[in-house]
Structure formats: structure tokens, C-alpha cells
């Protein structure tokens, strides 16, 4: 690879055609940096890490060099560049870890029951449907919720399960499709008595 032929003129170098990467051809993966292991930081062989880093770094420098002098105002290619923006790997990993953990380890929401002195935290991902969830709540809090009907909510029961969604609105559990509920539910409150009946009538 002749680097001396690299010019900083915004030539269309079509770097993507010549780039080295770790993925299979055709897979449009963003730049992979040396394996970052924040959750699995068992000792790895240094040679492996070195190889990965040097491969990815070269690709980045090709891109970096090529994009350096874009005078005509065309935006640089949007592929990731190694070490840019300059945020420490440690910090980047911590933010990423959170995202993946949310996917893998479940959606925890707090459940409060009117009149009960404590809160419980449950993982919505454990349940596959509303009936499952409601049964679990009944078992957990030793109360009867009954079943949901679109027209009458939880009429016939002293309790109505409600939840706060992402927009801050309080909804009746069961109003939206299950998957949407799992994604939007921030916390739950099992309401009691007349308040419950009022809500159920909405």
C-alpha cells in the first residue's frame, strides 16, 4: 500500500473498497476497535489485542488521512474513525454496557400497592403476556386483580393495576399490546377501591 500516494485533496479515494476490517465482506459494520472487555475482563492474550488494534487502526488512518482535507465542503464519510471523538474507551464501554444490559438482563420496574408498606421490583421480561404478569402480581401481593376487559377494565375486582409510561401518563395495564407495554412501562401502581373503579371506567 503506497502511502506516499495519499493526497489531501478530497479525491474520491473510494477507501471503502480497499479498507481492511474484521467483518465479513458485505457486512456494513462500524469500525471495530481492539476488543473492549468491560464485563469480561478476564486476562486475554496481548498478541490478540495487538493484532486487532493494529488492523483497525490502519483502516482508520486510511480513512483519517483521506478525509483530512476536504476543501470543497463535502461532508466526510460517516464511517467511524479510531479514537474519535476523543472519549476514553473506559467511558465509552460504560455507556455501552448499560445499553446491552438493558437488553439482556431485563426490564425492572417497581410495583407499589396502595396500602402496602413496601415496593417490589419485578422484571417484566420474565413474563410473556398480561395474564402471566397479573397472576404473578396476585401471588406476590396476595390480592385479586381479576381479568382485564377492554370495555370494563378490571371491574369486579378491588384492585386495578396501573402503570406510568414513558410520557408520564398513567394508564391501565392491558390498554396497549404487551410488547409495547414492556417497552414503555416505567413503574406500576396497583390502585385500590373507588379510585381503581374510576380508572377502569375510562
Amino acid at each position: 500500500m503506497e502511502r506516499s500516494s495519499m493526497k489531501f485533496h478530497g479525491d474520491d479515494l473510494n477507501l471503502e473498497a480497499t479498507e481492511l476490517r474484521l467483518g465479513l465482506p458485505g457486512s456494513e459494520e462500524p469500525e471495530k476497535q481492539a476488543p473492549q472487555s468491560s464485563r469480561n475482563n478476564k486476562r486475554a492474550s496481548p498478541e490478540m489485542a495487538e493484532h486487532c488494534r493494529t488492523t483497525s487502526n490502519k483502516k482508520a488512518s486510511l480513512l483519517g488521512a483521506g478525509n483530512c482535507d476536504v476543501q470543497d465542503g463535502a461532508p466526510p464519510t460517516k464511517t467511524q474513525v479510531v479514537g474519535w471523538p476523543p472519549v476514553r474507551s473506559y467511558r465509552k464501554n460504560n455507556m455501552q454496557t448499560k445499553k446491552t444490559e438493558a437488553d439482556i438482563s431485563g426490564v425492572y420496574v417497581k410495583v407499589s400497592v396502595d396500602g402496602a408498606p413496601y415496593l417490589r421490583k419485578i422484571d417484566l421480561k420474565v413474563y410473556k403476556s398480561y395474564p402471566e404478569l397479573l397472576k404473578a402480581l396476585e401471588d406476590m401481593f396476595k390480592l385479586t386483580i381479576g381479568s382485564y376487559s377492554e370495555r370494563e377494565g378490571y371491574n369486579g375486582s378491588d384492585y386495578a393495576p396501573t402503570y406510568e409510561d414513558k410520557d408520564g401518563d398513567w394508564m391501565l395495564v392491558g390498554d396497549v399490546p404487551w410488547n409495547m407495554f414492556v417497552c414503555s412501562c416505567k413503574r406500576m401502581r396497583i390502585m385500590k377501591g373507588s379510585e381503581a373503579r374510576g380508572l377502569s371506567c375510562l
Binding site: M1, E2, R3, S4, M6, F8, Q33, A34, S38, R39, N41, K42, R43, P46, A49, E50, R53, T54, S56, N57, K58, S61, G64, A65, N67, C68, D69, V70, P75, P76, K78, Q80, V81, V82, G83, W84, P85, P86, V87, R88, S89, Y90, R91, K92, N94, M95, K98, E101, Y108, K110, P117, Y118, L119, R120, K121, I122, D123, R187
Partner: protein
């Protein structure tokens, strides 16, 4: 956030006098004089023997007594240049040794000159190593240093390392060699694991401080917390928020209970808020707290009540520094309200909170001086900070999404607000997606005390998003108006004009970071010719070539290092520098181990050194 150790270790840090040296008198032979010196003034244990009272000897003893009180590195350096006897006296009385570049001087040379060191600080890799721009086995090994120190400094008490490669064996040697060892601080280090920590915990019987900051610690499945013996009751600071493996909570709790002097405790993100509570009620005397995850990690057990977190914080009347919040559950945020008024330092940089959540806290934080936060708080959150935090000295705004195409919740609006509200600002690091010259100029005028200005517009080559102009005028105003500026990081679309400004006005600038900027060699020339105080220059992806490089020949011996990657350098150009300056180590890093790269230099890292080329380079590094 902990008082940034970097700023504590900065060159212009005048420390308070070191504690009484104590220890045995050491005997030094110099020319044909023999004397016992303690270098301690008024300690009561000095035994100065006069064989025959040479006037010179009396003077030297007096000199030592006086120099003992000299703490600033620069002053000491100046003193040592006066004459030979001052050099000797200074060397004997230097108890804190700072090595800014571990390859600038050898352990042997350092320990020979300074024989009575109690505290060692060593910095290794350059900062760009943090961004994966260096091979992982590049160097900066602690091993030769600890070996030399073990022989030379039996009374060593403190070690501070930044960006060094530290092995478990190194930690073991350290633990065995220094019976009075008190403080270990590792910042951005790697190469060791929990087994190394276990040795330190068990063998350093006098340990007061164990701080691991943004370091990579390998999980050896060793329960290192349990290795602190029952006799360990002196702990003052324990920081392990970067350790990514579970610690034995029961052992930790017992440790906290038996450590009445514990003032600083920073937990990792695997400690739940319930566990935090248990520790807080045992240690209400804490001044610095890293809260760990700040959320519950498991389902509460049947019938278990949530602890009263608010009361725990209320009881912590001495808290001035709060950090952690790694997996923050925003419902718990109100728990910290009781301590907000006393906080001088708040690190929310791992807490993904929205503007309203931030406002609910910041409205109490009238005394805040140091604030680290994520851009999730948006411009609106920054406006709230500006309105309340009139004492703010340092602000860092990190991106939740550190990529070029991200949304960018903060902008020039936030920066402008901060500049108007926080007139005492001294240091700022600001990540954003869009910026204007006007806001930067406003900050330069509103915040004349700025010492550190680091703006990172994450999209490369982005101009002022309102005018379409380059960001030259903004940065120009910063160097022109901020007369105390010593550290600058630039970004966005920048022409050579920006560098002209830096060279013309940046007379105190010591550290400069450049990325994707400039048009031609002139840019770098302006800086190298114009900035007499420049010590650290790191450049990436900018069109500066050999001619620019040679324009700095007059200055490189005054610098700690120069880094240039993905620029327009050739081997020939770099070799010429190496030839012209024999005391400069010129390292060229290859990114592709196999291919012949021709004349182009991908990465140049050069630094002054008394030792010549090092012998521990990896394959990817060549020294010209």
C-alpha cells in the same frame, strides 16, 4: 468527582510542605566531606556532626534546612542549577519526585541523584493512548522503576502512576519493599488484576490510600477486599469505581466499620443502593463518596422495606464530593438533596438524566465548584447550572452518544449560558455537535480566568453552524482574551488562521491538542514558533509535514513530547530531526506489521530524554 489528580499533579502545583521526614539520617559522601544530614528542620532528632566547621559545610546544612521547605518542582529545578552545592543540597532534600515521562530519565539516574525520596509520581504513555491510537504493548512499564525504588527508597510512602503498565508482580514487589508505604494511586493504568490488589491489601500494613482511577483491573477471581487484615484500621481513602468485578460486600462492610479515618470511598457499579446505604450509615464521616450503581440490582426480598436513603444522606454532614450513579434509578435522586448545598464537587458523568431530573438536584447546589455531567441534560440543564452555580470553576460535559452523527443535545446555547452565569470558570471540557464562534467569543470575554479550554465539536471539520464560517475566530478570541490559558484543545473547521492566533496570543499555552485542523505547514509553524511555553503538543489527522516539523527544532528540547499521527510526515523528515537533536527520542509507529509502508510516517511520538533509545519497544515501534 475526585479532585482531578491530574490537576493536583500539574506542573504549577505548589504543594504544602511534606510531612516530617523522620527516618534515619542518611550519610552522604560528597567530595571529601562527610557529614550526617537529616534535612529536617526543628524535628528534634537532627544530629549534625561537625568534624571541623567548614564554612562551606555550615552553609550547606543551612541550605538544606531551607531547601527542605521548597516544594514547587520548578523552584527546586531552578535552585539546583545555581551551583554544585545547591544541586547537591536540593537533591538531598527533594522528597517528592515527579517524572513526567518515564522514558525521559532512567530509574537508575533518578534514584542516584535523589536519594531521600518519599513520594514518586510517574507518568507513562501520552494521552492519545486512551483513544486506541497506540499499540497496547507500547511500553511504560513500572517494573524497572519499582525495582530501582525498592533498592533506593526503603522509606517510600507514596506512589502515583498515570498511564503506566503495572503488573501484579510489580505490585507484589512494591508491597514487600516499603514497610512504611501509605498511598497508592493508579490512574489510567493497566496490566494488573485483583490478585495484585490482594497483595497490596494484605502486605501494606500502613496503607492509608488505595485509589484506582479509570484503570483496567483484570478479574482474577480473587476476593481482594478480604485481604485487608483485621489490623488494617488506618484506611483514609478507598477508590475502586473502575473495578468491574464484584467485591465481597460483607468484607467491605467490615472494612468500613473498622476504618474510622475513612474519608473517601468510591464504590464500583456492582454495589447496589441498598448496600450503599449500609456502608453510609457506618461511615457518616465521609467527605468523598462514589455511590456505585445507585439502583437496586435484584428483586427485593419478600417483605423487605426500602431503606431510608434520605436519612443516610442527611447524616453524612461532611460530604463535599459525590460521584458514581453508574446505573442511576432516577427515583432515588431525591435522596441526595440533603447534601447538595455542601457539595463542591459533583460527578454525574455516568448518569443518564434528563433536564428536569438535573434541575431537581442543581437547584440546591449553590456551592458547586466542579461539575461533570452528560449531555443528556441538554442546553436546558446547562442553563439551570448557569443560573445556580455561581462558584463553578470546572465543567465537563460528556456525550451520551460519542459518535459523529448523534443528535447533539447540547450546543452553543448551553455554552453561552454557562459563560454568562459562571464567571469564575477556570476549566471547561465540552463535547457537542454544533457550535458557533459567537458563543466561544462570549465565553472568552465572560470568563477571563479560563486556564483550560477544551472544546470538542464531534463532527469533523464542522464550521460555525449559523454562519458557515470556520471556527478560527472563536478560538482566536480564547487565546487573545484568556490571559491565563495554559491548556487548549481545538476542533471544528479550522484554517491556518486559527493557528496564527494561537501562535500570536497563546504565550502561556503549555498543552495543545489538535485534530482534523489546519490547511498547511504554516499552521504548525505558527504554533512552534509562537508558543514559547509549549510542552505537550498532540496532533492527529492534520496536513502538517516535514517542513513544519523542522520549524520546531529550536524548541523540542523544551518540550515533554510531540505527537503527530495521520499527518504528512515522512521518515526522511523525522530522521532529520533525530539527527539534529541527539537527545530526542524519535519513535515512529507502524500500524501494519507486515507491509512496507514506504516513506510515510503514520505516527510520530518524540520526546527529550537523557537516556537515548529505550530497549523495550514492541515490534510496531521503531526508533529513528
Amino acid at each position: 468527582m475526585r479532585e482531578d489528580p491530574v490537576s493536583e499533579m500539574s506542573e504549577d502545583d505548589d504543594r504544602s510542605p511534606p510531612s516530617d521526614l523522620g527516618g534515619p539520617a542518611s550519610v552522604t559522601v560528597s567530595s571529601n566531606k562527610t557529614r550526617n544530614c537529616t534535612g529536617v528542620c526543628g524535628s528534634g532528632s537532627s544530629s549534625i556532626e561537625f568534624q571541623a566547621p567548614y564554612p562551606d559545610q555550615v552553609l550547606e546544612n543551612v541550605l538544606e534546612s531551607v531547601l527542605y521547605f521548597l516544594t514547587s518542582r520548578r523552584d527546586r529545578s531552578a535552585a539546583s542549577l545555581v551551583c554544585k552545592s545547591w544541586y547537591r543540597a536540593e537533591a538531598l532534600t527533594r522528597s517528592e519526585l515527579f517524572i513526567g515521562n518515564c522514558y525521559a530519565v532512567s530509574p537508575r539516574r533518578a534514584t542516584r541523584r535523589f536519594t531521600r525520596v518519599r513520594s514518586m509520581s510517574i507518568k507513562g504513555k501520552p494521552r492519545f493512548a486512551d483513544f486506541n491510537l497506540m499499540p497496547t504493548n507500547w511500553g511504560a512499564y513500572f517494573t524497572p522503576w519499582v525495582a530501582a525504588m525498592a533498592k533506593a527508597y526503603p522509606w517510600l510512602e507514596k506512589v502515583y502512576l498515570k498511564r503506566m503498565s503495572v503488573s501484579d508482580d510489580d505490585l507484589a514487589l512494591l508491597s514487600e519493599s516499603f514497610p512504611g508505604f501509605k498511598e497508592l494511586v493508579l490512574v489510567c493504568c493497566e496490566g494488573f488484576g485483583t490478585s495484585g490488589l490482594a497483595v497490596v491489601a494484605s502486605k501494606c500494613r500502613q496503607l492509608r490510600v488505595l485509589d484506582l482511577i479509570e484503570s483496567e483491573v483484570m478479574d482474577d477471581d480473587v476476593d481482594w477486599i478480604s485481604f485487608f487484615p483485621e489490623s488494617q484500621i488506618y484506611l483514609e481513602s478507598l477508590t475502586f469505581d473502575c473495578v468491574e468485578c464484584h467485591v465481597n460486600f460483607e468484607a467491605l462492610e467490615k472494612l468500613v466499620i473498622r476504618s474510622p479515618s475513612l474519608k473517601k470511598l468510591r464504590l464500583n457499579r456492582l454495589v447496589s443502593i441498598g448496600q450503599l446505604y449500609r456502608l453510609m450509615i457506618r461511615a457518616p464521616q465521609l467527605t468523598h463518596l462514589g455511590t456505585g450503581s445507585f439502583s437496586t440490582l435484584e428483586v427485593n426480598a419478600q417483605g423487605e422495606q426500602e431503606p431510608d436513603y434520605i436519612s443516610a444522606f442527611s447524616a453524612s454532614k461532611s460530604l463535599v464530593c459525590l460521584s458514581g450513579f453508574r446505573d442511576i434509578w432516577s427515583d432515588y435522586l431525591p435522596a441526595i438533596y440533603p447534601v447538595c448545598a455542601n457539595l463542591t464537587n459533583l460527578n454525574f458523568s455516568y448518569a443518564n438524566i434528563n433536564p428536569d431530573q438535573l434541575k431537581s438536584v442543581i437547584c440546591y447546589c449553590g456551592n458547586l465548584q466542579i461539575f461533570w455531567v452528560l449531555d443528556s441534560i441538554c442546553d436546558e440543564g446547562l442553563q439551570a447550572v448557569a443560573a445556580k452555580c455561581k462558584e463553578l470553576r470546572e465543567l465537563r460535559v460528556f456525550p451520551v452518544d460519542p459518535s459523529e452523527d448523534a443528535e447533539g443535545p447540547v450546543s452553543e446555547v448551553g455554552l453561552q449560558a454557562i459563560s454568562e452565569g459562571c464567571r469564575n470558570l477556570q476549566s471547561i471540557l465540552y463535547f457537542c455537535q454544533r457550535m458557533t464562534n459567537a458563543a466561544v467569543i462570549a465565553m472568552s470575554k465572560n470568563c477571563p480566568d479560563l486556564v483550560v479550554f477544551r472544546l470538542c465539536i464531534m463532527g469533523r471539520l464542522r464550521p460555525d453552524h449559523l454562519t458557515g464560517e470556520p471556527m478560527d475566530e472563536g478560538f482566536g478570541a480564547i487565546v487573545r482574551n484568556c490571559k491565563k490559558l495554559t491548556r487548549l484543545a481545538v476542533s471544528g473547521l479550522l484554517t491556518d488562521r486559527a493557528f496564527g492566533y494561537i501562535g500570536k496570543y497563546g504565550k502561556l499555552v503549555r498543552t495543545l491538542s489538535v485534530a482534523f485542523a489546519g490547511d498547511s505547514d504554516m499552521g504548525l509553524k505558527y504554533v512552534l514558533e509562537g508558543c514559547p511555553k509549549l510542552e505537550k503538543l498532540e496532533i492527529r489527522d492534520s496536513p502538517f509535514g516535514d517542513a513544519a516539523l523542522s520549524s520546531g527544532l529550536h524548541h523540542y528540547y523544551n518540550m515533554r513530547f510531540l505527537w503527530m499521527s495521520s499527518c504528512k510526515l515522512s521518515r526522511q523528515g523525522c530522521r532529520e530531526i533525530a539527527r539534529a537533536l541527539p537527545h530526542l527520542v524519535v519513535e515512529v509507529m507502524k500500524t501494519d506489521l507486515e507491509a512496507e509502508v514506504g516513506d510515510y510516517v503514520e505516527t510520530l511520538y518524540m520526546y527529550r530524554s537523557l537516556e537515548g533509545p529505550r530497549d523495550d519497544t514492541p515490534q510496531s515501534v521503531e526508533i529513528l
